[in-house]
């Protein structure tokens, strides 16, 4: 049996006295689109950040593409990874943030080519050609030289997706990618994500866009209070949730 792309086993995480994740178990298979839903403060974003090594987990184990997150196992010992080793693993995971976080001093094109050239040491010419193709794919082929503050929120987020894709990631993480957008700009970002999902990209999406989750996700995971309350295909979660808490949440949000 092949290893799933992401596998969490009893993952726990605390910030001081506050326990944010209380033993999370869940798997994401290769090519799967998983939507994490749940009320704010339920630990969705923290889980996503743990997968990308932006937060350290306190207990349990988290595997990405067969590798233990944050550690290297040698016989019975777990060796903490050095920052440079973590960087290498991060470069295989794309991440899109709620607040876009485009590099403010760089144009759209510079944002996209920066990491492939600097981190992956790939030839500039090749990277630029690919970056232009990526920006065209997200519908911004005509805004290559625009600085982030000259772009709308939706455009910035699409550049951010292109920037993550330029690293040719095996897995894409989306942390509420449309929550900071004006309502009329949400659609353009979701369209790009839809086309990514159609291409078979493995994606974990923290979202409040229930219609998107219903339409695109292979699996929906409902989290509350640092635990996975219920998971299953979107039809089941949205159509016939078995847990009372899921039902209560959905009735409030839809």
């Amino acid at each position: 049996m092949t290893m799933p792309m992401v596998s969490a086993v009893q993952v726990g995480k605390s910030f001081g006295a506050l326990q944010v994740l209380k033993g999370i178990d869940f798997d994401v298979e290769l090519g799967e689109v998983v939507c994490l839903i749940g009320p704010s403060g339920s630990g969705k974003s923290t889980l996503l950040r743990c997968i990308n090594h932006l937060e350290k987990i306190d207990s349990g184990a988290l595997y990405v593409d067969g590798d233990l997150v944050g550690y290297r196992r040698r016989s019975d010992r777990l060796h903490e990874l050095k920052e440079s080793e973590i960087s290498v693993r991060r470069s295989n995971i794309g991440m899109v943030f709620q607040r876009f976080n485009l590099f403010a001093h760089m144009t759209a094109l510079q944002n996209v080519i920066e990491a492939p050239i600097l981190v992956q040491k790939r030839p500039r010419k090749e990277v630029v050609a690919e970056a232009i193709a990526l920006l065209e794919r997200v519908g911004l082929g005509n805004r290559l030289d625009a600085y982030p503050d000259q772009l709308s929120g939706g455009q910035q987020q699409r550049v951010a997706i292109a920037r993550a894709l330029a690293m040719k990631p095996k897995l894409m993480l989306f942390d509420e990618p449309t929550s900071a957008l004006d309502p009329e700009l949400v659609g353009e970002v979701l369209d790009v994500m839809r086309s990514l999902a159609a291409d078979g990209m493995t994606m974990i999406v923290v979202t409040h866009e229930m219609r998107f989750a219903e339409e695109v996700a292979d699996k929906v995971v409902f989290m509350d209070g640092g635990m996975v309350v219920e998971e299953g295909p979107p039809k089941l979660i949205f159509g016939d949730p078995r847990q009372e808490r899921t039902r209560a949440f959905l009735s409030r949000i839809i």
Binding site: V88, R90, M95, N101, M106, Y147, P148
Partner: protein, 326 residues
């Protein structure tokens, strides 16, 4: 009270069919006029302030030009004296070199200071504490007299091989003492400016860079410092202009900078005021050039952060624009 309000609202509603027709006609008129000229708000306060300031300026200029004690002819005669120009050269050279040392040192100190490694952050903190806590004048005299404290300077591994050995008396010239004193002191002040600049960069920028697999050094060099520069430049301009004048302290260790040079002349001729004016003219001239350079650098690093500038005429007149719907 309620009755009054009710009546007021009533009056807004056209009562008769005739009033309704009138209101409609007014609305249509407003919509159909495509070229309406907007009359700007009058700003009489600005003109009153202008008149007062102009009066003050005329009065000051008149005083400066007509008062014979300024001795402008002496100022002009001494402005390009070789001694003065030599002093000016030294002042400029010290300013540039000490700022160079200070800036390089400050980036290192700022990065040490925010490091999670206590063996870096604490020494940096101690450095700042010492150099900001003692007067620069004392530091200059101290460096100049270093030979009394350490007669021989040895560079090497303690209890191991030596790479360099020299007499402090030969190494510490007035020049090197001035550079050390001004540069090391400036490094401490600039370190806080650089640290503030680094902290001003949004945390999300670092996070995005980490998520892309960039290593800490790369993030600092490519993402954080270039954005911090925008915040660092204005106070650095301030520091440079401050340094220009701080160099006048080096006269205590027998260096003849601009101020010292004019004083050597005035101590001979007793024309104290005009010769001080010579120094001021040069200090002002250099400061003006520096301000212009600073403006250019700021523009260069404003990329990705548009700022709206208002023209002088627009600020004075409020601007008269023709509103043109469609």
């Amino acid at each position: 009270m309620e009755a009054m309000q009710a009546r007021k609202f009533d009056s807004l509603v056209p009562e008769t069919p005739l009033d309704q027709a009138e209101a409609k006609r007014l609305q249509r008129n407003l919509a159909s006029d495509h070229n309406l000229t907007v009359v700007p708000v009058r700003k009489p306060g600005r003109w009153i302030a202008g008149a007062i300031m102009a009066a003050v300026a005329i009065w000051l200029t008149y005083g400066i030009v007509t008062n014979p004690n300024f001795e402008w002819d002496v100022v002009l005669a001494n402005l390009f004296e070789p001694v003065v120009l030599q002093g000016l050269g030294l002042t400029l050279w010290l300013t540039v070199a000490a700022m160079g040392i200070g800036i390089v040192l400050s980036v290192i100190l700022a990065v040490m200071r925010i490091s999670e490694n206590p063996f870096l952050s604490i020494p940096a903190g101690l450095y700042l504490w010492f150099f900001r806590g003692t007067p620069i004048l004392v530091q200059l005299i101290f460096w100049y007299n270093l030979a009394f404290l350490i007669p021989e300077i040895v560079i090497g591994i303690p209890f191991g091989p030596t790479f360099f050995r020299g007499s402090a008396n030969d190494l510490i010239t007035p020049y090197s003492a001035a550079l050390l004193g001004l540069g090391l002191n400036e490094g401490a002040y600039m370190a806080e400016i650089v640290r503030a600049g680094i902290m001003s960069v949004d945390q999300g920028q670092q996070e995005a860079a980490r998520a892309l697999g960039m290593r800490p050094g790369q993030i600092l060099r490519r993402i954080v410092l270039p954005q911090a520069v925008r915040v660092i430049v204005p106070p650095t301009g301030n520091e440079t202009i401050g340094m220009l004048k701080m160099t006048s302290l080096v006269s205590v260790i027998a260096l003849s900078d601009l101020l010292y040079s004019v004083q050597t002349i005035s101590s001979r001729t007793f024309q104290t005021i005009p010769l001080l004016l010579v120094a001021c003219v040069w200090y002002l001239a250099i400061t003006s050039v520096m301000t212009a350079i600073q403006g250019r650098i700021e523009k260069r690093f404003a990329r990705g952060n548009r700022t709206v500038t208002t023209s002088w005429s627009r600020r004075m007149f409020g601007g008269s624009v023709t509103r043109n719907p469609k």
